[in-house]
Amino acid sequence: MNINDALTTIFLAGLQLIAFVAFAPFLTATIRRTKARLQSRRGPGLLQPYRDLAKWWGKLPLESSASGPVARYAPAFVLGSIVAAVLLVPWATARTPLPGWGDLLVLVGLFALARFALALAALDTGSAFGGMGSSRDVAISALAEPGLVMALAGVAIAAGTSDLGAISAFGIGHGVGLLKPAHLLEMAAFALVVIAETGHHPVDNPDTHLELTMIHEGMLIEASGRSLATLVFASELKLAVLAALFSAAFLPFGAATEIAPLPIAFGLIVGLGKMLVVGQALALLDGSLAKARIMSLPDLLGLASLLALSGLGIQVLLP
């Protein structure tokens, strides 16, 4: 790798990290705003998530007398793996910010690491709510995982590689021709999985604090101060990464295929726009669907797996 390439990589990685870190809370704010409007409320301002994070960051933390190092260090593992994921997903450009480092399976693995750390931390405080959230979260993720991986496997097999940069470039190269039935089925499956992974209706309610319905919030119930800020920020960032992954794998159009100021700027704007659209779709779901009973989730996520398998099946049986 020559010095020019190295500088390009550092620039793109830095740009992506700064953009995601700066933009992720705003994405959450737009979702809350739309949800509030759908419920005939005004809703908090668009800067509220930033204010929340700053407030928690400065607060005196409370630690459970039952908990130990796991609860203390888990937030760093959660955010650390999501930050690593940010750098492995193509967004403004068709190439990944760190090209050749990891593929879509590495992203899936990083999400699993974050889930593992958070679910463990929730058990460290000895709280029933932590256990409840943790056990539901890992169970729902287990239901979602086959759909997630099979949907991504579909685009990987079509592109002949699981490298996300190559997948994006392949998609852009095919234009509208990319949107074959198999591709659309896999896209639908992935969309269902995104709902589960980000904890929106009908799987989870991101705003609930009613004990018996919490999943993600249940795991955060004993977190406070900087730990809480870290975990909430990590979940906001994860939403942004999943939105970017969705667009990179299924609708990569608009991302820059060459490294030049104008295409990158255009890719940046399109990338932000796609994220906002994904966010608004989730807000629409939050506002229009009730949260489903937990026992009906296998149907929903089974549907995701089935859609992904149908897409994959069409692809491998009728290449």
Partner: protein, 687 residues
Amino acid sequence: MTVLPSEVDPLVIVTPDTASGAGFLPGLWVAAVALFLLAAVAAFGPNRNRISALLSTAGSLCALALGVYLLAGGAALSGSGGDVLGFSPIAFRYDGLSGVFLVAFGASAAAASFSIVDEPARSRPEASAFPLFLASILLVLGASTAFSFLIAWESMALLSAFLVVGLRPTRAVVSAGNLYLAMTHVATAAILIGFGLLAAGSGGSLDFAAWHVAAPSLDPLTRNLVLVLVFVGFATKAGAMPFHSWLPRAHPVAPSHVSAVMSGAMIKCGIYGMVRLMIDVVGGTPDWLALLILGIGAVSAVMGVLYAVMQHDIKRLLAYHSIENIGIILIGLGSSLLLASHGSTALAAVALTAALFHSINHAVFKTLLFLCAGAVIRATGLHDLNHLGGLGRKMPVTMVAFGIGAAAISGLPPLNGFASEWLTFQGLFGAAGAGGGFPFARFAAALAIGALALTTALAVACFVKATGVAFLGLPRSKKAAEAHETSVPALAAISLLAAACLGLGLAAGFVTTSLAATVRTVLSADPTAASAAGSAAVTSGPRDGGAATYAALAVGLLLLVAIAVISIATMARVQARRVDTWACGIEPKPAFQYTATAYAKPIRLFFRRVLVPEREVRVEYQPGTAFLASIHYRSEITLLLEDRVLKPAHRLSLRGADFVRKLQGGAIQLYVAYIVVAVIALMLWAR
């Protein structure tokens, strides 16, 4: 291969294949065997455990060194010795493939042996059998004739059965041991018949090398029969479904260091046998058998982990995870066979690398987890997760080591389990894509992708449960509250294994490169085809060009740096205030916590179609009042194979035996009548 005339010497003579620079190899092998034998003797001497355990640790380290050398491309080691009754020479040959499994065996056995240095053995014969068991595995991995293989194989089976049962077993232990003995002998019988067919097909030779030469000229029916028999035999030893019933029963009753080696190394001998016999010696596995292996792998993986989530006995939980991991290895093996037979050599190499790498990885983290489980059981006397909790405070090193092992077996980056599962996925992507040949095979590979994804996610659930319920929160019993950290040698063993999980994960690129030569030899592929550019690869650093890459070292360092920076940022603060956990305004109690059974409930209900859970709640009141006297809660799942297939079949066979017994009345006249009828029938038939 050096074949010595059998009259030369009745002793085993070991000579390296090529003499150049490998003079110490026979020495290593002899040292390993000698140390194991000495350890077996030392178990009867004074200070029995310490010396015996140290000697077998040294022997295992010799085996590990031998494995590393062979894996790094060293010359093969072979030797043969005295004829047995003028029948067949005892011959051994260790090559790169043996090296892979020697590494797995050496790491597992060294750690397990060292962990018992300060622990009293159950009895002297058991302490003595353990090093002999280790020696038998060492011999299995190098045997190059049917005779030596079967002797080593059978010693391994009998010694492990003795170690499981022990000298003073309870009724339950005897029943587990009997099941294990029966199944392992069914396995040996299948292998024996397979060997017999091969020997018949190669003019009576018992030499693997002669079989390899004769294999292409076998008629397809015989060859397929051999392959199926050998597969069934080795799959039973490996514990793949549906041949797994012995495994979850034998492990919980065996001492932990024995379970560790059985799970880490012994069941791998089944995988070794498959690769050795099916790919290396015979070859030409038909597509339907490759698909069957893929299917058995997928079913073992999903059902293994699903049953594991349902367990609350920590060792049975780990035993079911062995079934899961054998399943993952078989997925790699099956897709490799499929890809190889359809000309995708590069991808077949990826899938086989995945299977071999996962074998090593599983040896490391499963030994680690079993040794940690042993530490917990010694510290508390409890097997049941539901009575544990809060052990992390008393056993911090064990907690961290178990946590690392849990993350590794769950396939989380940057640990070793992730790297091999990544490769397994890449093999499947290849088989579902262009490499898989005909459409049905490609669809099967697509299904296996979903199965493997489900497996990894359920493994995360299971190990969050095991780690969290055992080590975190508040202690659920007095014994758990009074736990203490385990002995120093055991801590050293688990710490080193935990470091190996991280080390093998970060150095995954290096490991896969070291495996490449062996994989090429096994697939008999020419070097250019197997390392074709553009194929998926685990590397150390980033690799350009759009091919699937997992830059293990780079991603690992990125992750560790990110975690470190965020830790420092979040920790730089005033001392946190300690408060009680929120329990809606009342004092938090250990009973409020989720137990292992409660934690698994969502999964139990989500997968109720296959788990068929049963629940019984019995509430008793004090007589004449509305006050509670007691509540009994029982929750069980149905094991589909055992409860719905094997048990009815067992009953049916007993009924059949009853019927046959009626024929056998005991009266001599009756038997004479039978003979007369038989003779008349024969005469009529032969007329």
